[in-house]
Amino acid sequence: MTVFKTFLKILNKNKFIIILYTVFLIGFGGFNMQTSDNSTNFVASKPDIMIVNYDEEKGITKDLIKYITDNSNIIELNNNEEAINDGLFYRDVNYVIYIPENYGKDFMDGKNPEIKIKSTGDYQSSFAEMLLSRYIKVANIYQKSIDNEDELISKINETLSKESEVEITSKLDTDGLAKATFYYNFASYSILACLVYVICLILSSFKDIKIQKRTIISSTNYRKLNRQLLLSNSLFSIILWGVYVALSFVLIGDVMFSNQGIIYLINSFIFTMCATTIALFIGNLVSNKNAINGIVNVIALGSSFLCGAFVPVEWLPDGVLKIAHILPSYYYISSNESLKTLEVFNLETMQPIITNMIVILGFSIIFIILTNIVSKRKQKIG
């Protein structure tokens, strides 16, 4: 109890650091929740199309122009090649359709007249090409069997007006899951920074060579004292994890009561244990209290940036992600990201997450071994 009491006293002296990192989590995590755009509505974008018509605007030609006009933004530019090329270059227009002279007549005669186009080559122009191609394909099919132009136009419009019905079977709360993922990703920074800072500070006091000498010569078993210290640190880690989990229930309660919520809890718990072993390793390695701040910045900030705690993983360059593979945070964040789209929970779908958890536990074991080596080396005074 002597060690635990002293641990609590030193912890109490550093409570502001814990509060600070918790405020970071609520502040930045909460702020992102308010501003993140995870809209589920879809509005099709319309490409900017210019139509240069050399035919008479009647019959099938008129209908083609109407179809394109209904499904795009028609752009009016000067009908000269220089102006059209400038328009394409400056993206004033995505696609230019040149309808040749006698197009309507030639089409009805089954000559399959050629329509020339110019495009910017971007995704908007692809969409414009899809519109044109769709109309011509449908028109070609009916033209082979229908000679009457009015009947043909009627059939084409009837076909084109049919829309596929899409039923969304997913019941995922994508908005809530995105928020939860961001919260737990950001929590990796707060957990790591807080644990490394506090545990290093406390260990640097207890493991100070002068204090250690005084402790070794006392009548209390030194191993027992070390065990008490380890238990105190672990208890602190669990309490910190508990506080951050409780906060997540307050901020994103709906998600936390779902299956994904349980996985977020397990994943963050395993990461917290791993962060504790990292903190214990560094705490045994570093005895200079003034260096702790710098170490926290390098380890917590560094790994959070590299692994995608602040910036979405998909934005990170491949080189950075390769480096991130050597950090536990990467596997933790990777699992959180997987949870965003995970709907069916079975061994097969959960396999990547379970693998990530095993990797994090592997990191923990490595840090425990390293801590033991460092600790034993330091104990050898003579």
């Binding site: 002597t2 030193i10 100070d208 009548s219």
Partner: protein, 312 residues
């Protein structure tokens, strides 16, 4: 007399270097033993071996009649150590620091509380209980360091230079505290570089150098070891060389030095040296202002035994 510490043929080697070389000594119950020696003489190594902080190459150490081992927790409970460096938690107050270190030995709450108060009172830190170490002066820090080492009322106390860099007031307070500990029945092993402290405190002294005991005994016994018996210094103006040569030929005179206007005469043995030199000055009508006679100090003995060359 009961021996609290018995050291026999203790040897500690660092590769080829013998830091402690076949050391044997005892510490008797209730005494203050002074451990003297220049830097690197093996004092700290000896104490670290006694406390099982270091493994030793050869010999045996018995404390309270039992062999001292790293897991001798029953023996450790009777031992208190005050290291030279202040070893306290910066994050804890004076009271909390003593509470922690006392708590490593005493589990009973009430007993511990009483012991902490006693320790605070012994070192005179009653007004600083809630102070953090960074707010304490050097002297107060030293006193806190002592309180942390002795709060559990040990029967054997090791004090390693506890008064280094301390003002005279704090030093007196610390020395009074140490005497009180001895009077309360504790046996003390005291390491210091201050000879006057040894003369005031220690019942016996061991002088170490290069890992070996050069001399051991009471302060008076050690002074007997000095080649000189008496030092007489006389303030004389413009003394002619012929008189200096004549003084050198006087009975028992070992050496004569004349620097500035101070004539320093050292005597090997004999009595009435002061009377004889005064008669000689009178006969030769040599006028003098002041004259002092002093016995050799422990410092003289120490320097004579360990040499005057500088140590690291």
């Amino acid at each position: 007399m009961k021996n609290i510490i018995e050291v026999k043929n203790l040897t500690k080697k660092y590769k080829e270097l013998k830091a402690v070389d076949d050391l044997s000594f005892e510490v008797h119950e209730g005494e203050i033993l002074g451990l003297l020696g220049p830097n690197g003489s093996g004092k700290s190594t000896t104490i670290n071996c006694l406390l099982s902080l270091l493994n030793y190459s050869n010999g045996s150490i018995k404390i309270f009649g039992k062999e001292m081992k790293p897991d001798s927790y029953d023996l450790k409970s009777k031992i208190g150590v005050v290291f030279q460096e202040v070893s306290v938690f910066d994050e804890l107050t004076v009271y909390e620091n003593i509470d922690y270190f006392c708590g490593l030995y005493i589990s009973d709450k009430e007993t511990k509380k009483k012991y902490i108060e006693d320790a605070i009172s012994l070192v005179g830190l009653e007004d600083f209980k809630k102070f953090y170490p960074k707010k304490l002066s050097g002297g107060l820090l030293r006193r806190l360091n002592i309180a942390c080492g002795i709060a559990h009322k040990p029967k054997l106390i090791f004090l390693d230079e506890p008064t280094v860099a301390v003002d005279p007031q704090s030093r007196n307070n610390i020395l009074d505290g140490i005497k009180k500990l001895r009077d309360d029945g504790a046996t003390i092993v005291y390491t210091t570089h201050y000879m006057e402290e040894v003369e005031i405190l220690c019942d016996r002294v061991i002088i170490l150098d290069k890992g070996k005991i050069l001399a051991a005994g009471t302060t008076d016994e050690l002074k007997e070891l000095a080649k000189i018996e008496e030092k007489i210094s006389i303030e004389v103006n413009d003394l002619e060389t012929k008189y200096i040569d004549k003084i050198k030929e006087l009975k028992n005179v070992d050496d004569v030095k004349y620097n500035g206007n101070i004539l320093l005469i050292t005597y090997k043995k004999g009595k009435n040296n002061l009377v004889e030199i005064m008669e000689y000055l009178k006969e030769n009508r040599i006028k003098y202002n002041k004259i002092f006679s002093e016995r050799p100090t422990l410092n003289d003995v120490f320097l004579e035994l360990t040499g005057k060359e500088l140590r690291d």
